[in-house]
């Protein structure tokens, strides 16, 4: 099975609403990165997490290494939030980015 499982695989939101994306890990992750792939194709880093929580504007992410999951909360969704969100798990805090395992992504569409 998938080592990094993202849910849901696709999501449609009305502008102004809130939602949460989730990653479950079947590997021993000690770091998590969240990315948004924009329509041009580039992945933009949203968060780099060790266990705990981070917030940036309307986005908030949490990583629980003991329960092996991470969440990305989107508050007051805007049209520009549309795209595919990827999480990537790092196997240890001293490891390089070369050891990242990516999930398959959550495709988010925000509609007006």
């Amino acid at each position: 099975g998938d080592k990094v499982k993202q849910s849901p695989s696709a999501l449609s939101l009305q502008e102004g609403t809130n939602s949460a994306l989730r990653c479950n890990f079947s590997i021993a992750a000690t770091t998590v990165q969240w990315f948004l792939q924009n329509p041009r194709g580039s992945l933009i880093n949203l968060f780099y997490l060790v266990p705990g929580t981070k917030e940036n504007g309307r986005l908030k992410s949490a990583f629980d290494s003991k329960e092996s999951y991470s969440t990305l909360h989107i508050r007051d969704a805007q049209l520009e939030d549309s795209g595919t969100y990827f999480c990537a798990a790092g196997p240890n805090s001293g490891g390089s980015n070369a050891k990242l395992t990516f999930g398959k992504g959550t495709k988010l569409s925000v509609k007006s």
Partner: protein
Amino acid sequence: GGIITQTPKFLIGQEGQKLTLKCQQNFNHDTMYWYRQDSGKGLRLIYYSITENDLQKGDLSEGYDASREKKSSFSLTVTSAQKNEMAVFLCASSITGVGNTLYFGEGSRLIVV
């Protein structure tokens, strides 16, 4: 800020052909990476390089060669293009070390006819 430039954006080749993708970064990052993205799948690492002239294999290196000609550039060669290799190839870079995130280019789409 910096930028990662991938060329070409679309690469069309024939089956069996040797095809090369190029990547340039002006972040002055030590480490560069090539990932393959297939539709509906996560990114998989092909090759990475931690410094000029260094090469390290990723999970998907078979059928590919790479070259880190200088710190700012990293190229990827598909040694014999196959139709099942049509995918988007993403180049990334980062500072080497803990807590340093990846910065990505916009991708190059490989089309094999």
